[in-house]
């Protein structure tokens, strides 16, 4: 008997033919990978030919929910957007909030698979079982916000909308996908995959249902968990200030990057801290089925954003030599509207600032020039002037102009805003993450810095530590649960999956699924030719010691990094070259 919780339907859309079909979900894969992240990677492992050009019609974009989507399980409103990344050439799944995941599920689908390419700009309209291909002639070239506004007026606010901005249309590898205006599938250039398919937006309305075995029992327990566990102080700080809370913690821990990761710690952090930003708060908004509501809607002098997240504050603040909170808000708004990932676009601009400062190439922008930084977003999204080069990200730009020793990236994905010299495990986490440098795969600072549960400046034990963090996140994101439920445990997760699917999931199985998800992603990347040589640490972290802050004097010796990699491969059962044995690959299928 198939598991409940799923709709057991996959909508496969052929954009080239403007046709679609519905097929049953591969329930055998759902048993192994649950949903969202893991399940979508399993599908793409099966369906994508090796060496597929990420921006060709042959690449596919998957919108994947999970069994918990559409139930009242707290923090379950996230959608996995998965494809082969044009930024990295790896598999790449990005998790997006808002209400789109729930709309897709209620429309009747576990997964929407987008294949091929529209012959001219258009958007896909899904209203339950009615699917249509609409023209985007009037939307192409428009900012993501204007496109969403137009579509909401046309179809109604009961529709959820995924859209791209000009950056996605112009195939920038920094391009994100937006939902509910201010939520992003940010990393890995998935907006460019949509753009390459001439797909401006996906508009979804769902009125259907999700069935579970014993709904009264399930709902009673889910509501109890919401009230007793989720709404604890350990989690609810995100309601008060969102992820701006991390600014002080990162600064105090010596991992807040300054001026393109040349140093850490900013004495002026209080100028742009959460309490300053929250003075502009107009209201609160969360994702569907979320009890925490991290979204802070801010307005200031014509600028409206939900956020900003810690990452954006850091990259448009201290890492860009800027202390003006209003410039950070504006940067965030324009990046969202242009459809650019605030992290990757920001990292690329601050690299250009350092290139200019060092006299290596004059990009016409220096640290502290926050107005120009905002202008650069528009140039990059439209590939105008130097924006044409910067739109390709910091890896490609440094290959062309030099400065790779301070190009902070792994596999072509730019660094998130946690400085590894103050949290050595994070350098390993960035290096082995399935989609390039990502902080969502294994969040080492939580252990090494915030909880101080492991010494931060050593390689010892980091392979196991990063693995355990990665295992947990891999199964959590495969169950479509948001990171903000920080007190989630395998016991809770397996109990919830059991209540919803009717299959008896155990806590031990959660770890097994997490490990399997890490492995299937690695298997995909391995097939694309990725091995140890791409699991890298940026030269700056090896060569330059931090000059100030709590981690002053720290750098990460190459031997220490290599040691951490060896440990991690050992834990995973991969060989010294980071390659999985064939029998392990076979066990994943």
């Amino acid at each position: 008997m198939p598991m409940l919780g799923y709709t057991n339907k996959v909508l496969r859309v052929n954009l080239t033919e403007r046709s679609y079909g519905i097929e049953p979900l591969r329930m055998d894969w759902a048993e192994k990978y649950i949903g969202s992240k893991g399940l979508s990677i399993r599908y793409l492992y099966e369906e994508l030919e090796p060496n597929t050009d990420p921006l060709s019609a042959e690449n596919k974009l998957l919108l994947t929910t999970g069994p918990l989507t559409g139930t009242p399980v707290p923090c379950s409103g996230k959608l996995a957007v998965t494809s082969k990344s044009p930024a990295t050439g790896t598999i790449s799944d990005a998790s997006i909030g808002g209400h789109i995941a729930i709309s897709i599920k209620y429309a009747g689908y576990d997964i929407v698979i987008l294949e091929g390419k529209l012959s001219k700009p258009g958007y896909l309209l899904i209203e339950d079982d009615r699917i249509s291909f609409e023209s985007a002639d009037d939307l192409w070239g428009k900012g993501s916000h204007e496109a969403e506004k137009t579509l909401a007026e046309r179809h109604g606010v009961d529709h959820s909308i995924l859209s791209i901005g000009p950056a996605g249309e112009n195939l920038s590898v920094l391009a994100c996908i937006n939902c509910d205006y201010y939520r992003q599938a940010g990393r890995g250039g998935l907006g460019a995959v949509m753009g390459s398919k001439n797909l401006k937006a996906v508009v979804v309305k769902g009125t259907g249902s999700v069935e579970v075995p014993d709904i009264r029992k399930a709902t009673d327990r889910i509501v109890e968990l919401l009230q007793v566990d989720v709404l604890r102080e350990d989690n609810t700080f995100v309601f008060d200030v969102g992820t701006t809370a991390f600014l002080e913690a990162c600064n105090d821990g010596g991992i807040l990057p300054v001026k393109n990761f040349s140093d850490t710690t900013d004495e002026e952090w209080v100028k742009y801290n959460g309490d300053v930003l929250m003075e502009y708060r107009e209201g609160k908004r969360g994702c569907g089925d979320c009890g925490l509501g991290c979204g802070n809607f801010l307005k200031f002098r014509g600028t409206s954003i939900e956020g900003p997240e810690y990452e954006t504050i850091s990259v448009a603040g201290p890492n860009a030599g800027n202390t003006d909170p209003v410039a950070i808000l504006k940067y965030n708004e324009v990046a969202d509207d242009m459809g650019l990932d605030t992290i990757s676009a920001g990292d690329t601009i601050i690299w250009a600032m350092e290139m200019t400062e060092k006299g290596l190439y004059d990009f016409g922008i220096r640290f502290g020039e926050s107005d120009k930084m905002i202008d650069f977003l528009r140039l990059m999204a439209r590939r105008e002037g130097v924006g044409a080069y910067l739109a390709d990200g910091v890896k490609r730009a440094s290959e062309k102009f030099g400065g790779d020793e301070f190009a902070l990236q792994v596999k072509g994905l730019e660094y998130p805003q946690y400085e590894p010299r103050g949290s050595w495990g994070m350098s390993l986490s960035y290096a082995v993450s399935d989609r390039g440098a990502c902080h969502m795969r294994a969040y080492a600072p939580n252990v090494e810095v915030f909880e101080a549960a492991a010494p931060p400046y050593t390689a010892e034990g980091k392979g196991q530590m990063v693995y355990e963090l990665a295992e947990f996140n891999a199964v959590k994101f495969s169950s479509c649960i948001c990171d903000m439920w920080a007190t989630l445990t395998y016991d809770f997760l397996s109990e919830l999956l059991t209540l919803v699917t009717g299959r008896n999931w155990t806590a031990d199985e959660m770890g097994e699924v997490g490990r399997r998800v890490i492995n299937i992603a690695r298997a995909f990347n391995q097939r694309e030719g990725f091995t140890r040589k791409e699991d890298t640490i940026p030269k700056r972290l090896v060569r330059e010691a931090l000059k100030s802050g709590p981690a002053v004097g720290q750098k990460i010796p190459q031997e220490a990094f290599d040691d951490m990699l060896d440990q991690y491969y050992d834990v995973m059962g991969w060989d010294k070259n980071g390659v999985m044995p064939e029998d392990l690959v076979a066990s994943l299928l």
Binding site: H99, V157, I215, R285, G288, G291
Partner: protein, 128 residues
Amino acid sequence: MKRLKLDKSKCLGCKLCATVCSAYKEGVYQPSKARIEIESYYDNGDIKYIDHYCILCGICAKSCPQGAISMEDYISVDQDKCIGCGTCAEKCPKKVIKIREQKSVICDTCLGDPSCVKTCPQNALTFA
């Protein structure tokens, strides 16, 4: 008489209220069939709200041509008398009443112990 109230400033737009309502009343998770519809959305740079929930105004009971709707501490619909004419839904000022399978579907505040209120994570919905 206790009534539902919504403090919009606390509402996240999570729609958990409707999801649990459909669970207890319809046996599936299906907010489109819930007896409450509260959500928020962005419009022209502002947060706007949809707030369809029963305020126990009693207009449905007074306007029912069949005398099928009664109100004491909560609304009751006599399924034998209701002919699904839709008068109640037309008159409902909060647009919360739906006609399904020729019967009127109205919030009964879970007989005075509303599940939506017990679920609302930010106490935006109250019953007092």
